[in-house]
């Protein structure tokens, strides 16, 4: 109010100075200016948007610098140089070339972001993989697909009981991301999910309550991460290796597929570099991490060692630990958005009637959502997707990282969906795969409201010719703006967003719901 009065005074003063006749109507003029100021609309400014745009611009800055340095035409190519992470293999000069150099640094995996524009529809037909729908495989819950090329266990960290993904499109490697979202599954520790159990759960109806949508992009960019790496430097190094037991030079066309490194100290790490996928993961070197359950032989022992809610650090502390680890290990977060703790167990705890039944994991996951071409990446459950730092709650130390990936992409234009009704209808099913759409609903169906969506990218996997492709498809993320009144009735409702892809082919490929029931 004080600020408003100051503004009224300032503007009135200017008017009076310009034309003294206004002073005859001083009260009315001030009232009018006050009304004009009050009529200023709430602009719904989104801090996250500002953050993401800043990151995009800083990437652009790097791009412009590179452009100047290279002197090449980068109109079609964004070469971004944030030092995400660079795996540097420091090879001793003795091993590599004793006579010429004392040491040589060979860069095997670069953290630079590169996006190459390729022809329209360059990735072939886009189609959703069938969703696995069957019995989980225990532990943190799991799922299997009918696909003969892939068998996936979507592993939650440290065997987290509770939400197992019915698969978030079958990632080819175990991931540290906790299973998320109602529509992404409601598996359980130990027994997984039986399809027959699903019908009573989804007594939820989504209703869009956001602003009017305008979809005018007839073409949208789909991104494919380029995974296959051939490192001539590394392979050159291989040629010079001599093991006592065999002569490596006698093998032909040898390339490095992966490296597994161990840090041999208390709280040391196991570093896995997967050259084929261009991904680095770091985990506890478990033999060197103390744990009270290590020697446990009985259920009572495990129960006694269970983590209690008050032992879990606040999210801010978990993020601070994760930030510290990344900083210490030279991993830039420039390509990533604001970190978020995946603490779904807190909601389970809040909704639980018997708190002792809620399992609190030893590991908390902090997700730094990937920002690709200025848009934040989400998984199919509508949760942020990107670099994951795991924090060991007992040790209050970072215990590893997942999805530290080489950031090299191709971008290809595909037909965009401009039918607003279709998008909203899909959003109101709560899941673009429509797994639960049309299923029997219970008497106590709850209405959940969805707000105005933001533009984002959806990370999906597509299988072609026996190998997986990592795609990032433009999508709208609709925030859940009203939680169910009785979340416990829904197998613990965890959904914070509903995500709907905007690539028409993806939507068209899902007409049957994309469900392949798993039979045994």
């Amino acid at each position: 109010m004080k600020n408003l009065n100051l503004q009224i005074e300032q503007l009135s003063k200017e008017l009076f100075a310009y034309d003294k006749s206004f002073m005859e109507h001083e009260k009315e003029v001030k009232q009018l200016i006050g009304q004009l100021l009050q009529a200023k609309p709430d602009t719904k400014f989104d801090e996250n948007f500002a953050l993401m745009l800043r990151q995009q611009l800083m990437q652009k800055v790097e791009n412009l610098k590179t452009e100047k340095t290279a002197g090449t035409n980068f109109n079609w190519r964004m070469a971004l140089w944030p030092a995400l992470a660079v795996v540097v293999l420091v090879v001793s000069g003795v091993a590599l070339n004793q006579n010429k150099k004392t040491d040589t640094t060979v860069e095997l995996l670069s953290g630079n972001i590169e996006i190459d524009r390729v022809d329209n529809n360059a990735f072939g037909k886009l189609a959703l993989e069938p969703v696995a729908f069957g019995r989980g495989s225990g532990g943190g819950g799991g799922a299997e697909t009918m696909s003969d090329s892939v068998t996936v266990t979507q592993t939650t960290v440290s065997g987290t009981a509770g939400n197992s993904a019915l698969t978030t499109l079958t990632a080819p490697q175990a991931t540290a991301e906790p299973a998320i979202g109602f529509s992404a599954g409601m598996g359980g520790g130990g027994s997984g999910t039986d399809a027959k159990m699903i019908a009573p759960y989804p007594s939820i109806r989504y209703v869009y309550k956001g602003d009017e949508l305008i979809l005018d992009q007839t073409e949208v960019n789909v991104y494919r991460r380029q995974k296959g790496l051939t490192s001539s430097a590394a392979n050159q190094f291989l040629k010079q290796l001599r093991f006592g037991l065999l002569d490596m030079t006698k093998f032909n066309n040898v390339s490095i597929d992966s490296i597994n490194l161990m840090e041999n100290k208390e709280y040391g790490y196991n570093i896995m570099v997967n050259f084929r996928d261009g991904i680095i993961s770091v985990n506890e070197n478990w033999e060197l991490w103390p744990s009270p359950t290590k020697e446990c032989q009985t259920p009572e022992c495990y129960d006694a060692a269970r983590i209690k809610p008050n032992e879990v650090p606040a999210d801010s502390e978990l993020i601070s630990i994760a930030d510290g680890f990344l900083k210490d290990h030279g991993i830039s977060t420039q390509n990533y958005g604001k970190p978020e703790v995946m603490d779904y167990w807190r909601r389970e705890l809040a909704a639980a009637t018997d708190m002792t039944q809620v399992f609190i994991p030893d590991i908390a996951s902090v997700v730094y959502p990937l920002i690709l071409d200025g848009k934040q990446v989400y998984d199919e459950g509508g949760s942020p997707s990107g670099l994951v730092v795991n924090v060991n709650i007992r040790a209050k130390k970072a215990s590893g990282i997942q999805e530290l990936a080489v950031q090299k992409y191709q971008a290809s234009a595909y037909q965009g969906e401009t039918n607003v009704d279709r998008i909203l209808k899909l959003a109101e099913t709560g899941d673009f795969r429509q797994i639960y759409y049309g299923m029997e609903t219970g008497e106590n169906t709850e209405v959940i409201e969805l707000g105005t969506p933001t533009k984002s990218l959806l990370k999906i996997w597509q299988y072609k010719n026996g190998s997986s492709e990592e795609l990032y498809v433009p999508a709208l993320v609709f925030p859940v703006i009203s939680a169910p009144k009785n979340p416990g009735n829904y197998g613990y409702y965890n959904k914070t967003n509903v995500i709907i892809p905007l690539a028409k082919e993806i939507l068209d490929s899902n007409n049957n719901g994309g469900i392949t029931p798993m039979m045994r």
């Binding site: 008017l15 009018l32 609309p41 989104d46 948007f49 745009l53 611009l57 652009k60 800055v61 602003d211």
Partner: protein, 187 residues
């Protein structure tokens, strides 16, 4: 020691573009709001804000303090971006935008205040584009007359005159509308 805006600009123009972040931080909210007031659409405002800053980054070397303030230069880019991008699809029509906006939850609940604001919106919507721009730039965006003049390519005195005449007109019309409402209520 705090870096001034002028220093940030100089550094950017010397090739140290990472300093653009400081300029962005100072203006992102203002530019977004400026665009939102003219589109009344969050997504569109975000898209055009993004375009504005991308253009500003690419053209930072073309900015010269002799031609006006950095603020005016940036608003000018935002305004041109609005005209180029937004107008192609939907005309920049203050009446339409404000009518759309006024029908939503943004107005105050109190009946009289709401009526007043509705009237203000209505009268703002009836203004021609130039008057509307000058009023909103001065009152909502908080630009100085010098900056408004630079953005619109007019003289400072002309902007001042338009502002005062428009206020005079609005004052009469709003007052008339309120009297009319009171009579109708009494009747």
């Amino acid at each position: 020691m705090e870096i001034t805006q002028e220093q940030l600009i100089t550094r950017c123009q010397a090739g140290k573009l990472e300093n653009f972040g400081g300029l962005y931080d100072a203006y992102v909210r203002k530019i977004y709001d400026f665009i939102f007031y003219r589109t009344m659409h969050k997504e569109t405002a975000e898209d055009l804000t993004s375009l504005t800053f991308t253009k500003a980054l690419e053209r930072i070397n073309t900015y010269s303090p002799e031609k006006g303030t950095f603020s005016a230069w940036l608003y000018q880019i935002a305004r041109n971006t609005l005209i180029d991008g937004y107008k192609q699809n939907r005309p920049l029509d203050p009446a339409e935008a404000l009518e759309n906006f006024a029908s939503k939850e943004n107005l105050e609940d109190q009946t009289n205040a709401k009526l007043n604001l509705e009237k203000v919106h209505k009268f703002l919507g009836n203004l021609d584009e130039e008057k509307w721009e000058i009023i909103t730039m001065r009152v909502w965006d908080g630009l100085s007359y010098k900056e408004i003049a630079d953005v619109l390519g007019k003289s400072e005195s002309s902007c001042k005159m338009t502002f005062s005449r428009t206020i005079e007109k609005l004052n009469k019309e709003v007052a008339f509308a309120l009297i009319y409402l009171l009579i109708m209520k009494a009747g």
